[in-house]
Symmetry: C2
Subunit: 224 residues, 2 copies
């Protein structure tokens, strides 16, 4: 199955501007993109980056450039793949580029759900749509607002069967400073505290001086 | 399997004080508790509330009162059930009372993982431990700090096999105002926008005037 990974090359991750410079946000967003592409590949599927502009990086997969807003670009891609022929072309998946916690296992669960249902959705925290698989020719996206609820309504409206994928890893898009803690926590859990290896995004954060900080309530990050 | 549900009767949910009065926080925390107890029962297991004081509510299960801090009370309960006999008493689960999104399906996955591994953990957002199943007599808890990482280390230290349960529903404990949006989003998705039925916690929030609010970034709540 082809897995589209939308990626904004224009001022990525602006909500991290309190803790990262523009150049750092570009570098960190590319590290997350590479991790996501690798996880998709390890899950046995074929990633393709759907970028708003040329990506100045060595990527392990094809890149399609479409400078329209996210909703329009994804809908055009879905239409080209699912909408035109009588023989429905299998399935298309769309996975966000900032799912730094995504593992091959979590993605395999999404892809498997998307082979059973006509629309499989992994909701993001805060009502977003962090990943989905569509196999219905009339399904289209609307990424504004509470897109998870909108996508459920769109699927209901066209009579598509729906599966919801309940995954903390897929629900965690990295948008805000508090989300950086999530990246470090699960990297530390996965590699047993070994800083040497692991994924690019947590390594980038550690190299930039970020570490977990325990105060009252939830755990955050601090920077040296 | 017995499923302990720790519940604080003393100033519950203080981090919601910006949006709820003390009496409201008490009522809302009880609504969440009842939803969690029901979900455990529907998943086929036996809940028992482990409360810091007498619970002034009609609960569908037994209540044990232990006024010690959470870590001490849970460790005493684990020790009484797993630590004393040669024949390890099956498994004990501990599920937090503020997992308002918990469904029988999500809990079944936790319980199933806990029957396979000696320790199964559902991490919470921010590095907490929102639910676990223990079957190893030496496992003990430490809820301070990044307890998910601490519990992984404790399990490793006693040579217990570990399973991690990747669930957005179990990762979402309701502590802060932004978490209320999560309760409303998934209730609306589950009941198709029908306000009439559903779980107690989202109904309580709707009755108190809360509704989803879409501004920039993640979706929040507003109150009439």
């Amino acid at each position: 199955m082809e897995v589209l990974v939308p990626f904004s090359t224009d001022r990525p991750k602006s909500r991290l501007s309190a803790v990262l410079t523009p150049d750092e946000r570009t570098a960190f967003s590319r590290a997350m993109l590479r991790d996501v592409l690798d996880a998709i590949g390890e899950a046995g599927e074929e990633p393709r980056v759907l970028a708003t502009g040329a990506v100045d990086a060595d990527l392990p997969c094809p890149v399609t450039v479409d400078d329209r807003p996210l909703t329009d670009a994804v809908n055009a891609a879905l239409d080209a793949r699912l909408g035109e022929s009588d023989t429905v072309a299998d399935r298309v998946a769309v996975v966000m580029a900032d799912l730094a916690l995504a593992t091959p296992d979590a993605l395999r669960e999404l892809f498997a759900a998307g082979r059973e249902a006509e629309v499989a959705i992994a909701p993001g925290r805060g009502g977003g749509t962090n990943a989905f698989v569509a196999g219905h020719p009339e399904f289209e996206t609307d990424y504004h607002g509470t897109s998870y609820l909108d996508h459920r309504r769109i699927a209901d409206g066209i009579g598509a069967s729906v599966a919801v994928v309940d995954s903390h890893r897929l629900a965690t898009d990295v948008d805000e400073p508090a989300d950086l803690a999530e990246v470090l926590i699960h990297a530390e859990a996965d590699d047993g505290g070994d800083d040497g290896d692991g994924e690019r995004a947590p390594r980038w954060l550690r190299d930039a001086g970020f570490a977990l900080e325990t105060t009252g309530g939830r755990v955050g990050v601090e920077r040296e």
